[in-house]
């Protein structure tokens, strides 16, 4: 779907990205992560030709982007940035429909799409006629996400989209985005420096440092086998094991059993949540419940500790 082959880019004397190769499969929620200035935003901006690499080539949907008109390429790729970057002189609705207008959609098609987007991203209809400065940060970013989705592109690039939001809006938007990804099967390339955010969202991820790709894989494979000390430290050092628990649902380690327990937990909750509840209740086992509160089995502390690769 997206392939970067031996891509390099210099800004002045220091290389921003060097010899970077990566393949992102169709339908992935792919997170580029690394410390500030590691080149992850540069990589992202090369995918929609906002930055042209000095060396190497990039293919999108099997086509070398150098052969494409940049405007045309960009209209087919959604783009969201940290500050939303909404046009301050346009209403929220006009902002959302920016790309459909560029593509000269008919008014009725635009209206129908707007309706669909408002439901999809969770925007109150009353906000549509407001101007960006009349919206909160969270509302602005929802409009920004809706703008990226407007023309129904199969690829969306997001550059630290939720970094400036308060924790509550951030988690709400992350959930919204995860749902949108699951339902639509779009390919999302997402840049962040927040490991919790990355682990919450990613189906695949790449860790970068100093313009180089250090390790790529699924979140679990990276957590289980960090390539080097940098990755280990970046993943959180001491809390690495706890983070790993965050990736595994209780369902995977559940055993049959119906013993009386001091607490119950949902089968889809993470092992980390289970461990947290055990610590809170000072107990070594919990009952496991299904979606409607039906008892499914139980989970034991010893199993969590003894767990091998549970993913």
């Amino acid at each position: 779907m997206i392939e970067l082959c031996n891509v390099s880019k210099d800004f002045g004397p220091t290389p921003a990205v060097s010899d970077f190769s990566l393949k992102i499969e169709s339908g992935a929620f792919f997170v580029l992560i690394g410390p500030s200035g590691c080149g992850k935003s540069t990589v992202l901006r090369m995918i929609n030709a906002m930055i042209v690499p000095d060396k190497g080539h990039i293919e999108v949907r099997g086509e070398n982007i150098r052969a494409m008109e940049p405007e045309k390429l960009r209209r087919g790729i959604g783009y969201v940035i940290q500050s939303a970057g909404l046009f301050p002189h346009w209403t929220a609705a006009d902002n959302i429909l920016a790309v459909p207008h560029l593509l000269k959609w008919s008014p009725s098609k635009c209206a129908a799409r707007l309706d669909a987007l408002v439901t999809m991203v969770g925007i109150e209809a009353a906000l549509l006629e407001r101007y960006p400065k009349q919206l909160s940060g969270g509302q602005q970013q929802r409009i920004g996400v809706a703008r990226a989705l407007a023309a129904d592109p199969d690829i969306i690039l997001m550059d630290e989209p939720f970094a400036a939001l308060d924790p509550v809006s951030r988690v709400a938007l992350q959930e919204e985005l995860r749902g949108i990804h699951a339902r639509s099967g779009k390919t999302i390339v997402f840049v962040t420096h927040d490991m919790d955010e990355a682990l919450r969202l990613a189906t695949g991820m790449a860790v970068m440092n100093n313009g180089r790709l250090i390790q790529a894989g699924t979140p679990a494979s990276i957590l289980l086998a960090p390539a080097d000390d940098f990755v280990r430290d970046f993943l959180g050092g001491e809390s690495l094991q706890l983070r790993l628990l965050d990736l595994v649902p209780v369902r995977k380690l559940m055993k049959p059993g119906n013993a009386r327990a001091t607490g119950t937990i949902a089968a889809e909750a993470s092992l980390k949540a289970a461990l947290n509840l055990m610590l809170a209740r000072r107990c070594a086992s919990l009952g496991v419940e299904g979606e409607r509160g039906a008892r499914l089995g139980e989970i034991h502390l010893s199993d969590i500790i003894a767990r091998r690769d549970a993913s």
Partner: protein, 384 residues
């Protein structure tokens, strides 16, 4: 003690009262050179004087009332009463005094009149702004006030005032000089745009050039206008001596050419600075987002950057125009004509009313231009 709700209005009405008590309303002199006698408002025809005083008291009382739409109307009405009362009072008073005086006698408006007129106009402007009137309401208020003035003028109410006499004596020349003035300003703004727009593009493209260009234009701006007009005379006459084709175009050391050149130079700094700040203050993220979702550069400029920079552009143009209207008065000194002609003629002949024939229209022009640009600015900022 009742609560003061509007300090501005109270200050204005106090100022008006002070003017009435301490300043002469009409100055009557047997001829242009004699000092003459100052007559207070109390000796003016009683009906008009009473109207003006009633308006003034009304304003003072209104400053204790809570601001409402009705309040704005009442304020405008009271102010109009002051304005019309003092205008008619001055006219009729002058007629009475002139009947008894010698033919060369002059009745000129005194400080009390000017204070009352300014107070009335300021009160109207303030009330209109606070009243949050729509465009149509503002226009009709302005039209009504002006209509009163022109009706009185047409009825010959002002014919005995020396200001009106000076104006009527120069009526033909006045129109010529007014258009000359506007021509100087228009030409200067045209040339300033021709030079300023490319210069702004340069400054925006090459950030390194920005400091240099703006500093250079800043130096130009600090040269006093008379000095700049004077400095241009020598090189311009030299130039027209060397190049006969320039001379055939009427370009000389004196006259409109150096005046337009000087006005253009003055206009460049505010213009380029307005363009520079306007475009450079468009948020980087917004430009970036526009490019990233597939706007081409032309569309990005027209649909995003231009509308966002527009308020600063209009502000820059406003400063430039108002400044040029003022500076163009000085251009009369180097023979460029314009309304300044009356000002310098009046100073030379010790005819202060003739000075006003030049100065008042300059003020009115500047105010009108300001008003127009305020409206344009309102439009440009509508959605920002």
């Amino acid at each position: 003690m009742p609560k003061v709700h509007d300090r501005v209005l109270l200050a204005l009405s106090t100022l008006g009262l002070a003017g009435v008590f301490f300043g002469g309303f009409l100055n009557f002199a047997p001829n242009r050179l004699a000092t003459g006698v100052a007559y207070p408002l109390s000796q003016a025809p009683s009906l008009q004087a009473a109207a003006a005083m009633a308006g003034l008291c009304g304003l003072a009382l209104l400053s204790f009332a809570r601001a409402q739409k009705l309040w704005s109307f009442a304020t405008i009405l009271a102010a109009a009463l002051i304005l019309w009362g003092s205008l008619a009072g001055a006219g009729h008073f002058a007629a009475i005094l002139m009947q008894a005086g010698p033919p060369a006698a002059r009745a000129s408006l005194g400080p009390a009149f000017w204070t009352l007129a300014s107070v009335a106009i300021l009160a109207i402007v303030d009330a209109v702004q606070r009243g949050d009137f729509g465009f149509l309401a503002r226009a009709s208020i302005g039209a009504a006030i002006c209509a009163g003035f022109f009706l009185m003028a047409a009825a010959g109410d002002f014919d005995n005032l020396s200001l009106a006499r000076e104006f009527l004596n120069n009526r033909g020349v006045f129109v010529t000089e007014l258009f000359r003035h506007l021509g100087l300003v228009g030409a200067a703004i045209f040339f300033a745009l021709m030079i300023g727009v490319p210069l702004s593009v340069l400054v925006l493209r090459e950030k390194a050039a920005a400091g240099f260009v703006l500093a250079g234009l800043g130096v130009l701006q600090t040269i006093p206008s008379i000095a700049l007009f004077g400095v241009l005379i020598a090189p311009m006459s030299k130039l027209s001596e060397e190049l006969p084709f320039l001379r055939s175009l009427g370009i000389n050391g004196t006259g409109p050419a150096p005046a337009v050149l000087a006005l253009t130079l003055y206009a460049l700094l505010p213009l380029v600075r307005g363009f520079y700040t306007g475009f450079s203050e468009v948020a980087v993220e917004v430009k970036d987002a526009a490019a990233a979702i597939g706007f081409g550069w032309r569309r990005r400029f027209i649909e995003v950057e231009l509308p966002l920079a527009l308020p600063a552009l209009v502000s820059g143009l406003r400063v430039v125009t108002i400044q040029a209207i003022g500076f163009a008065s000085v251009a009369a000194l180097i023979g460029a004509g314009g309304l300044g002609t009356f000002i310098f003629q009046g100073i030379g002949q010790y005819a202060l009313d003739l000075v006003l024939v030049g100065a008042l229209p300059v003020i009115v022009l500047a105010l009108l231009v300001n008003l127009t640009f305020e409206m344009l600015l309102g439009l440009a900022r509508r959605n920002l």
